[in-house]
Amino acid sequence: MRGEKYHRIRAVVRKEFRHIFRDRVSCMLLFLMPAFIMLIFGYALAFDVYRYDIQVCNPGHSVQAERLFARLDAHPKFRVTGRLERIDAIDGAFARGNNRAVVVYRDDGIDLFVDATSPTLSTNLTLMLSSVTGDFAADEFHLAKPSQDIRIRYLYNPTLKKEYMPIPGLVMLVFILVSSIVLGTSINKEKAQGSFRLLRLTRMSNLEIIAGKSAPYFLITLLHVAVVYLICLYFGVRVEGSLALFFALCTLYSVCCMSLGILIASWFDRPLDVLIICWIFLFIPNVFLSGFIFPIETMDPFMHAVARLLPGTAFIDAFRSIAFKGTGLGANLPAFGLLAGETVLAGFLSLIGFKRNIPR
């Protein structure tokens, strides 16, 4: 009986592999998409400032102002992109290019006009500019410098490698999109074409069909996990903790994403639905609420609780903890528990969905 079941699942696995390899373009994208995306954005996606574009204005034609502007232009984080002749041209200066601030030098002080559409950017820019102008004033007016120095030590990323910031989030996004959309749309297509119902006319159960369809994608996912690890190494992101635990986390997370894809496919009929739901309900919340961009500790208690339930949050937390802090299973048990729980829950709900929507 068990052997028969195994043969049935193996037949579906073989069929699914044929489907995957039949279309060369899809096959190539399926295998290479995670690697390609991670390689591109490992370089392109940076969360530290490369350079702010600013403009300057010297209405009093002061020599001191020119020295300040030269210092700003020589600063690695600023580029003076323009010089305004009149103060009333400031509004126009913000319309062109990527100008973030206008520095106006007057005899009684400096006026700094900052684009505050993004409070995070404007605060950072203001602090950096005030640091430069403070140093400039100290040099110009020969003020005493503080005798005490400040020593800064960064924990878990001592050299502040910029790749440490995007890599966990990118891995999270790649898996949540690729694993869920690929499997979800594949199952949905069978539903839309009626072949799922045909398979149900045989002696196969829903669980066997889903297991057979998922197995090839699970194997591809294992390949993706290995590729992700190699790309982490390529960018100099070393796993400080247990390698087995790291692989277990990535595999569990991608299985969780696959089960979410199956869940969506079980309740909705068309690949279009799966595609939109994955982007709107998985991609957007996980980008903004998982701690990828904003630390979730800054959210109010309700949104913090919502964010904690997202698989992306659990994954990023555990990824940073294992890879950067070198912690073990004990410290990451809540994340593993949540991912496993969500996988089982999504699997259970999808079985109900298939039972309701595709009766034998």
Partner: protein
């Protein structure tokens, strides 16, 4: 011509309304993206810092008071260094400041597993310590004038981003899957056999899905206004015109991908891949200031960048179309090229 176009639009509307699940998804999309997710963005972004006073003097209390008064830091005094280190390991605090016994240097320990948090903590604390010690700012005062203030947090900034993302996802995906569906089910051949030109076919798709995108934008904007009090500072007509130009480009992209794909799965894979690249390079999440010149140059061919940047300029800065004509031109040009290619491709199919 107009009668045929009207009939095709009617067909598209009937097809859309025929699937109640899709209508439900279309209604739920703006509620989730605009009505719920932004609650996670407007928040207390103060860094949590603990001070360890190794000098056992009043300096500890004075520094705690100074740091806590900063708008960026929430500060407490730690019982011991070991206790503070345990807190930072468990993620309860972001940084520790160690006050030296007289004459030694201050030490800041910042967690950099989330690099932005670590860098911000070191920077803000460092500035506070420096300002306490030096008088430079008093000699040459710095007066800060914040322009285009959209609130004390990032909510409005990212709401504008999400509106762009919302209409892009719906416009592009709906158009692409509609075309590939008609291609696979041979409806496209039937339509062509009626004498309908590929140009008219592409135009009807463009018009319908642009209208759907604009309706979604209107709903999203209404939710943003009701829940988060986001009111466009610039003219609403200019904003919708920019959105229409963007939808023209992004719907054309969807049609082109569908026209070039052999199967629905292939179209889905290609769209996911393209969207991932375009969205992440669009400066929605990592601003242009963070990109090296080479990567920043990719914005010239990325419609998402022009849509997001233009939306920020109109909605948050109150600019008009006349001040940012390049945004409209690039989007129109991109839309024109992509829809032209789609027409050529569909002509080749038949």
């Amino acid at each position: 011509m107009m009668r045929i176009l009207g009939q095709i639009l009617k067909k598209e509307l009937l097809q859309l309304l025929r699937t109640p699940a899709l209508v439900g998804i279309l209604l739920a999309c703006p509620v989730i993206t605009i009505g719920l997710v932004p609650f996670g963005l407007g928040n207390d972004s103060r860094l949590k810092v603990e001070v360890v006073d190794a000098s056992f003097s009043d300096r500890g209390r004075a520094l705690v008071a100074r740091l806590d008064a900063s708008p960026h830091i929430r500060c407490d005094q730690a019982v011991s260094l070991a206790e503070a280190e345990r807190s930072i390991e468990q993620g309860r605090i972001d940084a520790i400041v160690v006050i030296p016994t007289t004459g030694e240097d201050y030490s800041i320990l910042a967690r950099a597993d989330h690099m932005i948090v670590g860098m911000d903590a070191a920077y803000y604390i460092g500035r506070q310590l420096q300002e306490a010690a030096e008088q430079g700012s008093a000699a040459l005062p710095l007066r800060i004038h914040s322009k285009y203030v959209s609130g004390s947090d990032n909510t409005h900034y990212y709401l504008v981003t999400m509106l762009v993302l919302l209409i892009a996802i719906l416009g592009c995906f709906l158009a692409a899957l509609s075309v590939i569906n008609e291609k696979e089910s041979k409806v496209l051949e039937h339509l062509r056999s009626t004498g309908m030109s590929p140009g008219l076919y592409v135009c009807s798709k463009l018009l319908f899905f642009t209208l759907v995108g604009l309706v979604e934008l209107g709903v999203g904007l209404l939710i943003a206004r009701t829940v988060f009090h986001l009111t466009p500072a610039g003219p609403l007509a200019d904003y919708f015109l920019l959105a229409a130009c963007f939808l023209l480009a992004i719907v054309s992209l969807g049609i082109l991908v569908a026209a070039c794909s052999r199967t629905m799965l292939q179209a889905i894979y290609i769209i996911v891949f393209l969207f991932f690249i375009l969205v992440l390079l669009s400066t929605m999440f990592a601003p242009l200031d963070n990109m090296s010149p080479g990567w920043a140059a990719t914005r010239y061919v990325n419609p998402f960048f022009w849509a997001v940047d233009g939306s920020w300029k109109i909605v948050l800065k109150g600019m008009r179309m006349g001040e940012i004509p390049l945004h409209y031109l690039v989007l129109l040009l991109t839309g024109g090229v992509l829809s032209g290619l789609s027409i050529l491709r569909i002509r080749r199919i038949n």
